[in-house]
Structure formats: C-alpha cells, structure tokens
Amino acid sequence: MIRDLGLHLALIAVLFVLGLTLPDYHQGNMARILVLATYAVGYNVLFGYTGLLSLGHAMFFAAGMYGLGLVMQHGGWSPVPAFIAGLVSAALLSVIVAVLALRTVGVAFMIVTLMFSQSAFLTILYFGTWTRGDEGFVIPQAARQVAGLDLTDPVTRYMAALALFSVALLLVLWLVRRQEGAVLIGIRENEERTRMLGYNVLSHKILAVVMSGTLSGAAGAGYALLFGYVGATFASVQYSIFPLLWVLLGGAGTTIGPLVGAVFMFYLIDYSSGLTNAYMLIAGVVLVLLTLFARAGIMGEVRKRWAPWLP
C-alpha cells in the first residue's frame, strides 16, 4: 500500500515539476490532457475495474460541463458553487442511468448507455435557447477567477488541472485498495461467483456507475472552467469513444493507464497531423498494432511483464 501511494505521489510530484518547467506549448497541452485524463480515470472505474463497457459516457462529461456552464452563464454563479453544481448534475444523472441501465448486461448495456447519451445530446440541442446547442457558448475570462487566482493563467490553470486529476487518481487508488474495489474486480472477473460469495452485485455496480459518472462530470466541469467553452460536441458519440480508447491504450484496470493513454493519443495525433493530413490513418494503424501486440494496454503490459504489484 505504501509502495502504491509512493508511486502515485511521485507521479503527481513529477507532473507538478513538469508544470513549472515544460515549454509553453506542452504545458498548455498537458493542462488539457490532465483534465481529459480525469475523464478517462472516471471511465476506467466502470470499464477497467468493473468490466462494464459504456458507450455513453459523454453524457456524464456534458452533465458536468453544462451543470457548471449554465449556472455561470445564466445565473452568474461564481466558479466554486458552479463546479459543485456540475458535480451534482453528473452525480444525479449517473444515479438515474445506473438504476435504469443496470437492468441490462453486456451488449444491451452498451446500447442502452449509447441511447441515453444520444438523448442527452439531443436534449442539449433541443434547449438551444439556453444551451446555444451545437454552437455552445463561451465562459468569459473575467468569470474564471477563484479566490484571486486567475484560472486562465497558464501555470494556475495547469495546477488546477493537476489538482483535479490528482484527486481523481488518489480516489480511485483508495477505492481499488478497499474491499469495494476488490468486489468490483470480482464482478469484472466473474459476476456469478461474486454474487454467490454473498456480495450485493447490483449495489456495487451502482457505486461504480455513480463514481465513474461523477468523476467524468468533474472533468467536464473542469474543462469548461479552465478552457472557457461549453458546447454540445462534448456530448456527441465521439466523446464517448475517446475515454474508451485512452483507457484501452493506457491499460484498462490500471490506475495510471488512463493518463498514459490520454498522453499517448494526444501526442500521436498532434505529431502525426504535422506529417500528413491522413493522420487518423496513422493513429488507426498504431491502435491496431497496440491491440495486436499489447492487448493489455501500455501500463497493462508493464504490470504483466515487470511490475505485477501495480494497482
């Protein structure tokens, strides 16, 4: 446990130092990646640890984003209460989705989450008067200040993103080292056996959906607050697929994998787009190669080959 905690704190310390030393461009990128990695950390709770594949997580990201954005835009709320509103929105939505979608399993669960997410996307478009639909809206720079800290300042923004990511990372580490975490892994490995051992599978699954959805919502609220834009694109299908890719790449069921996957994917696209317009082809080929030769993802392979103790 101490080794796990030490590793994670060291990672956070490295990220902290990077925030002060990286060149401007990469510092800006990493701030964005940390927020997106928070989303992937949330997704990983459900997919990586519990074995439930959701194709609709963009609805939770968007719930956090709009929960914060709408009250700031129309209610003039300050960032901290607005961020809490974002968390509450995502938590409420995930409770509703958990209760309804967990009546299904397997492929049906994937389809139900996809449909719920599509409904959320269309709801945002339908209420265009307030949400400005697909266009979205901007949260002005002047409104993005917390206790005298300017969240649009590159270093402050990076540190805020790091704080968000660190809380999510340590929370998940704490969860997987508790009995509840072990039960989630048990559900992933053999749901019937876990039930037979006397654990309440449904309540644990609900816990996983709510925790996963709320963390995803925190990332959405964080994105809106730190980067100043709220838009329906973030509720579209592709934003449900992204965290799945990041987690698969980085290593499903590893705490650090989501960050590794998000960094890898971001820079893969960033660099390959400088080489050719067919950069998605390069990304696709790399993904296929990774799937063929590193099925457990980057950190999954590290755990398998060198560090079986990795959480």
Partner: protein, 426 residues
Amino acid sequence: MTQSFKTNRRTLIKGAAAGGVLAAAPLVSRFAQAQSSAPIRIGFQQHVTGIGAAYGRWYGRTTDAAVKKINDEGGINGRMIEIIAEDDGTDPKRGAEVVGKFASQHDCDVAFGTLFSHVVYGSAPAAGELKLPYFVVSEGHHVASGALNRYTMQPGITDVKSQVQAMAPYVAENLGKKVTMIFPDFAFGHDHRDYFTAAIEAQGGEVLEHIAIPPTETSFTKYFPKIPRETEVVYHVMVGPAVLTFVKEMGEFFGPSKPAIFGFIDSLEAVDMTSPGLEFLDGTYFWEGMPRYAQADQTEYDKAFRAAVGVDDNGASVSDPRDVSTYAHMFGCWETLHIIKAGMEASDYAGPQDRAKLIEAIEAMTELAESFEHPQGPKLFNGKTHQVFGVQYISKVENGKLVKVHTTSIEDTQYPDEADYTTMAF
C-alpha cells in the same frame, strides 16, 4: 598648419574597435535584414477533416491563391507570408489546441480561417488568453454579438444575422409575405428562425409556421404536411448530407404547383446544381454570399479572383468540373488575408509585440471598396463590433444555373451594435 596624429595604445584600441564595428557592419545589417525580411507567419486553422472538410478544401485553395498574389506583389511590409496550416478536425476542442499550437509552437503572428461556429466558440477563448489575433471566416453572429474577445475579428465575411435580415425586403416584395420556415433544429437553424422572423415581420409579413427538423432526421416526408395551405413562400436552410433527400422529397410533395421557394446556398455549397433530384429547384431562389456562376455583369475583380483560385464560370474547379467550390463563402479567406495585410501595413507591424497595434489599425478601418482585394463587393467594417457588413446577392435557379436577380444594399444588412470590443483591454 598640419596636424600630426600619434598612434598610442588608446587610439589603437579605439581604432581597432571602430574597425571591428565596420567589419561587423555587413553582419549587423544582414542580421537586421534577416529580422525584417523573416516571413509573416499566419496560422491557418483549416477544416481538413470532419463535417467541414469540403469548405476546408476550398478555403485552402483560396488561401493559397491569396498568399501567392500578396507575395508576388511584394508581401506585407516587404515580408513574405508563410502559411502554417493545421487541421482542426472541425472540432472545437482540437480547434483550441491548434490555436495554442499556432501561438506557442509555430510562433505565428496571427491565426485565421475558421468557418464552423462551434470551432470559433471553442477556439476564441484560447486566442484571447494567448493574445493571438484571430481572424475568423465563419459568418456566425458570434463576433458581432459580443460573446468573444478583443483578439477575435471577422473582417472578411458578413454574419448570418445581417445576411438573413437583408433577405426579408426582397422576399416580402417579390415572393410573398406569408412564410413557412423549415430549418435544422440546432443553432444555425435557430439563428435563421429568430433573425428572419423578426425581419419579415418588419416588412409587414409573417411566418405562419416554424418547422424545426431534428439533426438526426434522414427522411422529411412527414414534415411537409405541416406546411400551411396559405403559405406563399417556403424558406429552407437544411444542411448536411440529407439535403439532397430533403429537396427530392419536397419536390415529390409539391409536384408542379409549388409555392415560391427561398433558400440559403449553404444547403448546396460544394454540390453540383445539376445533381439528379435538384431539378425541382428550378425557378426557386437562393441567397448567395458571392454568385457561384459568372454573371452577365461579372466584374473584373470576380474574373481575376476566379482565375487566381482556379474556378471556372460554373463555380467548379478548372481541373475537375465535378469539384464544385464553396463560392459563397471562400472569398472570405481572400478578403481576410488582404485585411491582415492592410492592417499590418497601417500599423507598421514588425512582430508579435505589435499585435495590439495591428488590432487597433483594423478597428480603425471603415469603408472597403470593391476591388481586387475585395472581389465580393463593397464593405463597411465596424471596428466596435469587429464585424464587416457588405452587400448580399439573391439568385434564381434557371436551367440548373444560379442567375443573380438582386443585390442588397449594405444598409439592408446593418443592425444596431450589440458590443464594443474597443473598450476591452488588450
């Protein structure tokens, strides 16, 4: 009297220093030359992939042609333009990342080129925070509404609000006053709904029915019976891949006895007007930002613009007649680049430290005459709202071609200011 010069150690050192300076002078001047002749780097945020790819392709060609023209004419303040294009995937998140890349990695002087409004909204905060002048070619109302920031401007293309309201007088006088609107149920459609409804009412007309079509719809037959019988004009602005189905089904619904039909060419940008199924559009009217087909009264400016970009008289690529351009919008790239040139020259722009001066110089612009730099038509730039206003065109489809029937005045397109960016700090 003669003066004798004695060489001592001090004068020797002075002489050596002066000699050194003289010897280094060519280097210094070469260095200064390198500084002043380094290219102006313009980040081009291009929709290469994603839903905006057809626009992005033609925005790219227009940009290349404009840069060639400006560079051939001596560049900006004697410096060549270098375009650094990055694909934003027509995605607001990637758009913001690309703006960051222009500012921090490519060391661009300015950024330009974005079309889709959601990408503009997503990217503009990054441009404002990084203090990178950001020239959008989007026709969205975002800039003029005051929602963005002092670094974001739209000087090369008019906005949707001015375009839509300028259509109402012609529609009311020539096509009818009882209108039914069919539009996609998202922000682009809502803009048309709100601005045209107000504008037609100001002309003594009315919108009988607003028919909003969900963006996921692929068949439209169930919506047409909602069109009231007394409708005199159907106003449509459907966009996206289903638009051909929409037109075909509308044709099947009305048959030969159709009401007057008015649309925005956005529906059919990059689409061949002679495509199967579009015959029904013969005799209907379209807004055009710039007439796609070379008109009988074609200006020398339009002729030169077409030749430079490589567009034939039918609005298609000279190398492939099936590759139809986005002619109603892409002139915006050409005109924006000329505005950047004019602004940089007026502000004596030397580098990123002069970005604020550049913006102030553009804010000071007003009338922009129709010219080789502004082939779409005369314009009026509003420095307070960072938005340009200009004439609009209405064309009628005749034998599969768009024939210009009306040119609005600039006054038709104007509305009261909704923002004053000049009061914002840099």
